[in-house]
Amino acid sequence: MKKYTYTEKKDTRSGFGAGLSELGNSNPNVVALCADLTGSLKMDAFQKEQPDRFFQVGIAEANMIGIAAGLTIGGKIPFTGTFANFSTGRVYDQIRQSIAYSGKNVKICASHAGLTLGEDGATHQILEDIGLMKMLPHMCVINPCDYNQTKAATIAIADYKGPVYLRFGRPTVPNFTPADQKFEIGKAVMLNEGTDVTIIATGHMVWKAIEAGEKLAEQGISAEIINIHTIKPLDDAAILKSLAKTKCVVTAEEHQMNGGLGDSVAQLLSRNTPAPQEFVAVNDSFGESGTPDELMTKYGLDTINIIEAVNKVIKRK
């Protein structure tokens, strides 16, 4: 098992803030909008550095999405920022009609996704956003795993023409991807080559997949670990290539089982080379208040759950 180390834990939202600030200086067409969560989204640097290109819209997310769509008419590249819940479910029709169907070049940037938002509880812990967004035709869906990757993704989507949903979160997680690693939209990142099972993880679950891989190696199980930061378009080739070798897969995501990354992988496999699959995801449930770690444990999104899923899926081969 390849060894991964990190010097510090950082939040992915700060990676977004740093990427946005860099874009502010490098791309004059980039503008940013926020619905009263500038501090939470780490958009303060952009706001301070580019005051003319920052739009505070207040607690009015529907209006924010519409304004962002309008700003593209004139060549701007709008980045909207609010919590994932208010970035998707709350404004689904606005995104569908004014952005997706209208083909507008808006980047919907969503923080505090999933259970790791923590104590605020289920009203804010959206676990359905990936599904909502990936169902929209031509919507690109990205869920990076750490600070460096989130920063790189933020910078990369400015050059991508078309609507993007960029999902990140609140807690600090190991920052292990190289700071200079190029972010390629739609390209899976191979973290560890293995032969017995493929673990496909996204977002905060990627580090847990690495931890699981280390423990599995001690048990003599060789896990191939793939970081899928782009859920749509999915890197079909990388997944099929891995499954041709390992013949079974565990998907891991901080999202509902219905509609998430696991669904996309299952669909791909069933159309090509059907294989046993286990899902580490939230199983048809809302979250609740608690610390991020407590919640990840209670809802079955821990390292141990990946290990158990691997043991189960290998038996099904």
């Binding site: 529907a62 209006n63 309008g70 008419i73 606005q94 169907y101």
Partner: protein
Amino acid sequence: MADVSQLEKLATQVRRDILRMVHAVNSGHPGGSLGCTEYLVALYNGVMKHNPKNFTMDGKGEDLFFLSNGHISPVFYSVLARCGYFPVEELKTFRKLNSRLQGHPTTHEHLPGVRIASGSLGQGMSVAIGAALAKKLNNDHSIIYSLHGDGELQEGQIWEAAIYAAANKVDTYIATIDYNGRQIDGDVENVLSLGNLKAKFEAFGWQVVETNEGNTMAAVIEGLNKAKTFIGKGKPIVNIMKTEMGAGVDFMMGTHKWHGSAPNDDQLQKALDQLVGNESDY
């Protein structure tokens, strides 16, 4: 600008187009389309600075229009075609398979003249504000126009946008309200009364202009010209325009019945008989 009598003739032709389009597919929304004919004819034939022969999405240096109440697409399509955005012949494809003239306007089929999809109500004001902000960043001093149904104002997003535009002094923007008092289920007053609309917009910090005869060409032009005098004065502008749903066809007026139903063969003929002039039907 063409003279008023020429515009009135064009309005008659547009009304014929609207009726023939919805009749051909036995669907669509003639009522609101007929009511907004003078407004759109005036806007696209003298009021707005625009370039029909060379449509670009960004419309640099041009005034832009956003139709928020997308269901009145027949009048929008007819006016766009008749000022040169696309061939008038194409009106016969309205609502048919593989057409660029979808039931509600869309950019998806790349129809020149359309810059946003609309149909799900209440979204166009936000989009118009965004376009106005982009113009400002680009140092482009053109005007943004939008049209909304009065029933559409029941959507909450409209008022989010109204707060934003006033707070941020979006003063290169003229929103027009098609104040016909009717919506699908009946009179706006009975479905969900808007109360004192003028007072509402004033309380929201908007400059209000009233056009009391929205189906009289000269009055519509006068209203829009008056609205333009408030451009750059620190407030967004709303033109509350009283119209008659179904205007121009006697049996379609005074009721909400023609909001979303098409005339049959006899009704079409009866309607066209009232709309005569220099016909050049497609």
